[in-house]
Subunit: 351 residues, 4 copies
C-alpha cells in the first residue's frame, strides 16, 4: 500500500509498504478523510520525537473498517468509524488507574506516526479496536470527524484539566485549533468570561463565535499585565495553555487567582525548564495548581464528544479553512500546515 511518510528528519515522500498485520484485537481502516496536525510538522522538520525513517505520518482521520481481528466484537468490515489520535492499550495498569494515555509508558498512548505508521496510508492500523474506534454517525461528515481525532478532545482536555466551573473567568492562551476548542469547551462548561490570546484575524473571529469575550494580543505587552488590567487586578480563575513556550507558564501564574488551576495541553518543544515564579506562586503556598496532560483517547470519549458535534453544540466546520480532495493531496495539506498562511486554521483532505 501507498503512504505519505517522513523519510528522515526534514524530508517527506510517498512510500510503498506492506499492509499492516492485524493482531486479534486490532482493526484495519481505510481513510475517508485526513488532516495534518502541527505535530506532524514538528515531527518532520523539528525532529520533535527524534529521528524516524520511512514512517507514515498523520494521526487525524476517519475511515471505513477494512478488516478486523478475531477478537473484535463491536465493529465489522464496512463500518464508518472515528478514531482518536491517541489509541491506548486499555488492558493496562495505567488505563485502569485513569491514565490510558500513559499506558506502557509516559505518553506512549500516542502511537500513530510515533511508535507505528500513522493514518496517511491507504490503510491504517488501530490497536484495541473495540476501545479505540467509534461509529461515525451520519450527522457528522468525514471532514468534521477529523476534528474529533485530536482538536476537539485535546482542547476539551484543557478544559477538564483546568476544571472550569459555572461563572468562571478563563484565560485561553493560544487560539490555534486546539485553543479554539478550549474556548468552545470553556464556554460549554459554563464560563462567564473567556479571555483568548491570539492575533490571526481568522482565528480571532472564530474564537469570538466560540464564546471568547475578550481578545488579547501578545504584541500589546505581557499577557499577565493585560489580564490583570482587564480583570480589575483580580486575575482569572482558570488558565488553559494551548500555545506558547515554557515561558508562558510564568505569565499564567502571575495572573491566576489563589486556588486557581493551569491546565496545559500544549506540546513544549524546547527549553530545559518551565519556570514558576516563586513569589506569585505564593512562596509555594498559593494553591495555584499546575498540570498538563495528553488527551485520553478512547471510544467512550469519542462518543461523548462527537455527540456535542452532532447536536450542534460544537460547530467544528468553522475551523476547517482549507479543503482538499483526493488522497494524494495529503502532501499539499501538510505543506500548507508547514507554511501556515495567515488565514489557515485547519486543512482537511477528503478522499
Amino acid at each position: 500500500m501507498k503512504g505519505f511518510a517522513m523519510l528522515k528528519i526534514g524530508e517527506t515522500g510517498w512510500i510503498e509498504k506492506e499492509k499492516p498485520q492485524l493482531g486479534p484485537n486490532d482493526a484495519l481502516v481505510q481513510p475517508l478523510a485526513l488532516s495534518p496536525c502541527t505535530s506532524d510538522v514538528h515531527t518532520v522538520w523539528e525532529g520533535a520525537i527524534g529521528d524516524r525513517h520511512n514512517m507514515i505520518l498523520g494521526h487525524e482521520g476517519c475511515g471505513v473498517v477494512a478488516e478486523v481481528g478475531s477478537n473484535v466484537k463491536d465493529f465489522k468490515v464496512g463500518d464508518r468509524v472515528m478514531v482518536a489520535a491517541i489509541t491506548p492499550d486499555w488492558n493496562s495498569v495505567e488505563a485502569q488507574e485513569g491514565f490510558p494515555m500513559h499506558s506502557s509508558g509516559m505518553l506512549a498512548g500516542w502511537k500513530f506516526s510515533n511508535f507505528k505508521d500513522g493514518v496517511f496510508g491507504e490503510y491504517f492500523h488501530v490497536n484495541d479496536a473495540d476501545g479505540n474506534l467509534a461509529i461515525l454517525p451520519d450527522s457528522i461528515s468525514p471532514a468534521e470527524a477529523c476534528m474529533i481525532s485530536d482538536m476537539v478532545p485535546t482542547g476539551f482536555h484543557g478544559v477538564e484539566l483546568a476544571d472550569v466551573r459555572f461563572g468562571d473567568t478563563v484565560l485561553v492562551i493560544g487560539i490555534g485549533p486546539v485553543g479554539l476548542m478550549a474556548v468552545r469547551g470553556a464556554a460549554l462548561r459554563g464560563a462567564s468570561r473567556i479571555l483568548a490570546v491570539g492575533t490571526r484575524p481568522n482565528s480571532v473571529e472564530v474564537a469570538k463565535k466560540y464564546g471568547a469575550t475578550d481578545i488579547i494580543s501578545y504584541k500589546d505587552g505581557a499577557i499577565d499585565a493585560q489580564v490583570l488590567e482587564l480583570t480589575n487586578q483580580k486575575g482569572v480563575d482558570r488558565v488553559i495553555i494551548a500555545g506558547g513556550t515554557v515561558d508562558t507558564f510564568a505569565e499564567a501564574v502571575r495572573c491566576l487567582k489563589p486556588g486557581g488551576i493551569i491546565g496545559n495541553v500544549n506540546y513544549l518543544g524546547g527549553g530545559e525548564f518551565i519556570q514558576i515564579p516563586r513569589v506569585e506562586w505564593g512562596v509555594g503556598m498559593g494553591h495555584k495548581t499546575i498540570v498538563g496532560g495528553l488527551m485520553p483517547g478512547g471510544r467512550a470519549r469519542l462518543e461523548k464528544l462527537s455527540s456535542l458535534v452532532s447536536s450542534g453544540k460544537v460547530d467544528v466546520s468553522l475551523m476547517i479553512t482549507h479543503r482538499f480532495e483526493g488522497f494524494e493531496k495529503v502532501e499539499d495539506a501538510l505543506y500548507l500546515m508547514k507554511e501556515k498562511p495567515r488565514d489557515l486554521i485547519k486543512p482537511v483532505v477528503v478522499l
Copy 2:
C-alpha cells in the same frame, strides 16, 4: 501586657503592649502552652515576611478564653481552647470558595505574627472566634495541643494536596516536624510505602515510628536517582515536599510517575523560580500535577485532626524533644529553634 517580640529584622526582645481590642466576633486567649516555629526564625532573622517592628511573635499555642466579643456564640470565658496558626475570615468570598487561607488576599489567612501580634503574649487575639477556636479536650495536654496549631494541620495538608490513596508509594521530602506529620498522615491515609528524606537521627527514628518504610539521605546523591533505584525505576505515586528549596521540585518531578501529584507545604524563602524539568514533565503532557498550599485553619479541621490525636492515631508527643516551663522561657525556646541542635524536633513551653 508583656510579649516576646521581633523588634526589627535580626532583633528580638520583651515588650509591653496594650491588651488587644476585641471586635464583636473575636476572643482574647491567655496561653497555656506555646511553641516557636521555624517560621518565627525566618521572620526574625531572614526577614522572610519583610520588616516588622515590635511585633509579638508566635503562632503555635493553646490557652484559656479570657474574653469574648458580643457576637461569639460557642465559646465562653474559661474554656480551654486550641487555635490554628492560620485564622481565616470565614465570612469571605475566598472561604466560601474553599480557600479560607487566602481570605482577603493570597496567604492572608496567616495573621499571627504577620499582620497582627502573635501568640507569645500574656494574651492573644483571635478573630472569628466561633470559626477559629475549638475546645481542647481533656485527653490532649496543652503541650500536645501546640502541635495541632501548625505541625499537624500543615503536614496533613501535604497529604491532602498530594491526595494519597490506598497502596500508594509516597515520597516525603524533609522530616522536620511538618515532614514527620506528612509521614504520619500518609501512613494514616493508606500508603503502603513511605520514603522519607532526612538525616538527623532523632527525626529518622521518629519517622520510622510514624510509618516511614525507607530513609533516604540527600548526602548520598540526588533524591530522584535514589528513589528510582529503590522503586525499580518506577518512581513514586505521590510526593509531599516539606523541606528543601525551589530546586527540590525538579528532583520530585523526575521520580514521579505520570499521573502523580506533588503537594508542597514548604515555605520557599528564596530563588526567583521553581524549575520544572520539561522532558521529565512529559513535554507538558505527563499529568504530573504540581500544587502547593498554606493549610486551611479553622475549627472544623481542629476538631477533626485533634480527634486523631485523642484517639491515639497520631502521637504528637514523639515530636516534642525539648520542654520548658514558664512564659519567659519562650525566649530560650525560640533561640533553641534558631540554633537547631541535632537532637531537636520541637520545643514546647508550658505556662
Copy 3:
C-alpha cells in the same frame, strides 16, 4: 414597618412590625423587587414547615442597603444588592466543611420566612451581610435579580449534584422555574441531550429555548419507559429531579445507567419513604448515586451565577411571565402563584 405575612396556616395578611434589629455582622435591606415562590404557597397553605404566626413571607428579592452593622466591611448604605434565599452562618463548622446550607442544623441555612421574617416587608434583615450579599450589577434588572435568589442557584445546584459532564444525556424531571434552570444549567455544563418532563405549553417552549432536546409528558405513561424508548434502552447518564413526589425516584432509578447520578432539588412535601427499586438499583451494587440538597447560598455563588446572567448565557427574563408594580402587589403575586394559571412560570413585583 409593613409586611405581607402568613398569619397562621391557611391565612395571609398585611401586618405591622418593628424594623428588624441589627447585629454587628448584619444588614437591613429595602426591597427593589420581590418574587413569591412555590415554597411560600407550601408554607402558608400546606403547613410545610409547620405552624408559624405573623411571619412575613418571601425569600426571593433584591434591594438597597438601608443600614449595616458595625462589623460589615464590604457593603454600605445605598448599595444595590442581590441576596440568596439561603443565608448561612459562614462562621460555622458546617460551612467550613462545605455544607453552609446546613449551618446550625440540617436545612437551617434557610432562614427567610422560616426561622425569621422573610423579604416581603418594607425592610428585611440579612445575617452575615459580607457573606450573604452581593453587589447588583447595572446590567441586571431588579426583576431579573429576583430569579438569582432561588431559581438560578437551586436549578444549577441540581446540575452540580448530578455532576453533568461533556456529552451527557440528562433527564430533567419537572420544568417549573427550578427545572427550567436545571435545563439551562445542564446545557451550559456541556450536556448533549436534555430530556425534560413537563406539559405546560409556556414551560415547554422555554425549556426548548434553554436547551431541552426532547420533551416528555408524564401523561403519556411512566417516565422511565419513555426515556428508555427514546434512548434505545440505554437510559440516561444523569437525572435532575425538580418536581414530582417521593415516587419520582423509582422512575429515575429505572432509567439511569449504572454509574449515573440522581441529583434532587425538589422539596418533598409528603410520603413517609422515598422508594428505591432494589433490582434496578443493581441489588445494591449498581453505582447509581442518589443525592439531594438545598442550594448553598452565599456571596461567592451570587457573583458567579449572576455573571452568567449579565454575560447573556442565562436569560432569566424568559421565566418572568407576570409582572406587577408596587409593594402591595406582593399579595396578588402570591395568590397568582397559588392559583398557578397554565401560562404562569414566575411573577415578579417591582417596587
Copy 4:
C-alpha cells in the same frame, strides 16, 4: 477436568468438564488456594442469580498460570498469580468511564460462577489476563491471597464509596469478612472513631484489632438510636453497609449527618424497595448521599491492595478461622460457610 459445581438450585456436586478454551487475551490458572464466599451459598441455596446447571462454583482463589492466549504480554506459564472475583472487560466503554464492574451490562464484570464456570475447578479461565491477573508476591501466602480476591477489595470499596476522611466518625454495619475489611479500610483511611455493628464474638474481637472503637449489637435496639446516643446526638460522618437488608438503609439515614455519605457493598437479596425516610433525608435536601457498588476488580487494584497486605498494614490472616487441605475439601468448606458456625469468619482450602 474435575470441578465442584452447583447442579441446580439447592444441589451441589462434583462434575467432570472440558478444560476451558482460551481466547487470545485469556489465561488458564491452576488453583493454589480457594475460598468459598457467602455469595456461593446464596447462589446455590437461595437462587440469588437465578437457576444455573452444572456451573462450577467459586470466585475467590489464587493459582499458577497453566496456559496463556497468544496476545497475553505480561504473564507466562508458571507465574503465581492473584485474581479478583470481578474480572471486567477492560476494552469496553464502561471501563473507560470508570465503571469496569459494569462492563457489558450492570454487574456483568462478575463472571466467575455467574456467567461462566468459577474457580473451584482443576483449572479456571481468566479473561483479559493482562488486566485481571497480578503477580502473587512471595510475601503473601496463597491462603492470604484468597482474601484479596473479594473480601479486601469489596470492604475497601465501601470505604472508597463512603469517601472516609481524616478524623471522621464512621459506622460500619455488619462485621462479616467484608465488614471487617471495611473497618480496616476506614482505620487505614484516617477515621478517628469506628462504630461497628455485630455480635459474633470472634468477629467482634477481630473488628477491634482492625480498628473498631465501639461495638454495637442490633440486639440492643435500633442501630440509629444507639449511634445517636454514642455520638451525643450528632450522628456519624459516614456509613458503610456490609450486612443487613433493604431496611438497613433507613437506620443509616437516620444517624447520618447532613453532608454525609452511605456506601453500600452488601448484596441485597430480597425486598422490593430500599426505603429512604423522607424527613430524616432532609425532605430531599439534606445532602445525604446514598450509593452502592460492586467492587472494580483489575490488576492495578490487586497490586495496590496487596501491597497493604505485604507491608503488614492489613493482616488478613486474622479472618481465616478455618483451614482445609486438598482440592476435594472445597466441598466441606462451602458447607461450613452454609452452616456458619458461630466462630467462623472465613475458611480457606489450600491445595
